[in-house]
Subunit: 312 residues, 2 copies
């Protein structure tokens, strides 16, 4: 059954039935707007859009995968401020011949990913469009802490990482060459594993800056370097190449460090901490902050692409 | 110059330069997320998407018009809860050959419309897409009042309207027949005039239910009737047909009441108030609430289409 057959309001009621309420949901879907608790007196908000053919392919990712990815991309931007996610809103633009089941599974994926952090899908919009597009907004609460910005890194700080990099990029390369394994890489591309708890934990431990790694570690560290007016150096010896990634890299003729250092979409978190900080659980040291500008790898410029530009 | 030529980050910096800060903006664009004041301890949130070819045509609306419309559609959903808008977030999906100036003017339109209510454009996202799409999220603050829901109408209540209906639909019909006048109708389609202050004012005056008229008065009143388990009757004598609309209707062979009662996109507000309420400034009585179900016009069923379905 297509969404044209059941109509906008039929689709909305079926999709809403898939959504669980979050602990901060005061008024969920069904009215002109939702109402979400903001106990801190401030609300953290971000938006991130996924476009078919650009961010996902329906033959590579099922609808629940797309839901997980769309939610994760947004929830990661909330925790990268040191905040706890509270809610998602979702605008779905879809061809009228899209199967109703696809939209329902998308909703399940969004709701399940949000449930990992106790957030609810509280509202949304739907429109027909020739291009399948999922635009998500996430909200969060700072719990009384200041937001951790990109601009606070200081020379002498430790550079640390939580979560994995390169897995989604390796999975993307594997899929784009027509393979379906190694499973660990393909699954990492389909559903990122975001270290959600690491964001607020870094904030509580005194992180001076933090960013979600969505476009590639080196490119995203470039934003910290630019905003903080510092230089950032990454040590490659801090990165183990997992066996599955090493095998895939050899088979595909790729330098695995290109994936690890410049691959996006795993939504790891990078942060800087004052020297001597005992890094909180889930964080590991990967480099240092210095006087200067830009990002280096083992104190040398990186010769490969640093990341992703959505219009190039 | 196209957005492909300046790239994602070049485009972002040009667009952000067009945005004014709102009075509730604590952290604007440039980090992983924005931070907005939520003094009430709750945040009202909604999302509404505009798709080229479905919600706008570039030959009918300039980029600033599209910005005004996208902002207005969302801000209206916030005030329809009785809340004051505080912020917008915007995801722009655009073909890589879109002119940079188009995106800049879009941002100006969004920012200018938000400025009417003191809100800022605090964040966003950009992606390439074959389909030009503007997905907006709005946030708002309830100022200590309960949200005004669709479900609170009571038999005996007054039905009231703030703002105009039918103008945008008439302008749409005029444009779709190849005309560019009457100016008042075409301009109403391009840039809705939303009675923003009327929403919080209705809440303060004790409105029992409220809704933004986006799809058509009768269809949207149907949501109030269904949510409140009541019948709603609209009196046509409460609607004057403005001269420009009467002339256009005659010339185009349209019943102007079809525009007034079933035309969407003006973003008027409809609300119900207890009998005997002195209606606040900007509101006028247009009907009554009864025991029963559904929406009638002069106590009879409406024979024309009631409104708009986005997938039909």
């Amino acid at each position: 059954m297509s969404i044209a057959e059941i109509g906008e309001f039929g689709l909305i009621s079926r999709v809403v039935a898939r959504l669980g309420a979050g602990s901060k949901t005061l008024l969920g879907p069904g009215d002109d707007s939702a109402v979400v608790a903001a106990p801190d007196g401030r609300v953290v908000a971000c938006t991130d859009v996924l476009v078919e053919g650009r961010h996902f392919r329906r033959d590579w990712c099922g609808p629940a995968d797309v839901g997980h990815r769309a939610a994760a991309a947004n929830l990661a931007d909330i925790v990268a401020m040191g905040a706890e996610p509270t809610a998602l809103l979702v605008a779905l633009c879809a061809p009228a011949d899209l199967a109703v089941g696809w939209a329902e599974e998308l909703a399940t994926g969004l709701s399940d990913e949000a449930a990992l952090v106790g957030a609810g899908v509280v509202g949304g919009d739907m429109s027909s469009s020739p291009t399948l597009t999922v635009a998500v907004t996430a909200l969060g609460d700072l719990g009384g802490r200041p937001p951790v910005l990109r601009s606070g890194a200081q020379p002498g700080d430790i550079l640390a990482l939580s979560g994995r990099t390169g897995h989604a990029a390796a999975g993307y390369t594997v899929l784009s060459r027509g393979f379906r394994t190694p499973k660990i890489l393909v699954e990492a591309y389909r559903r990122p594993e975001v270290p959600y708890a690491a964001g607020p934990r870094a904030s509580a431990a005194g992180a001076t800056s933090m960013i979600d790694i969505s476009d590639g570690l080196l490119q995203d560290l470039g934003h910290i370097a630019a905003a903080s007016l510092v230089a950032v150096d990454v040590r490659t010896e801090a990165f183990d190449v997992p066996p599955a990634m090493r095998d895939a890299a050899t088979a595909l003729g790729v330098d695995p460090h290109q994936w690890l250092l410049a691959g996006g979409e795993d939504h790891a978190l990078a942060a800087t901490f004052p020297a001597g900080t005992a890094l909180p659980e889930g964080w590991r040291e990967i480099g240092t902050v210095h006087d200067g500008e830009g990002v280096t790898v083992d104190r040398k410029p990186w010769s490969g692409p640093a990341g992703w530009d959505h219009f190039r």
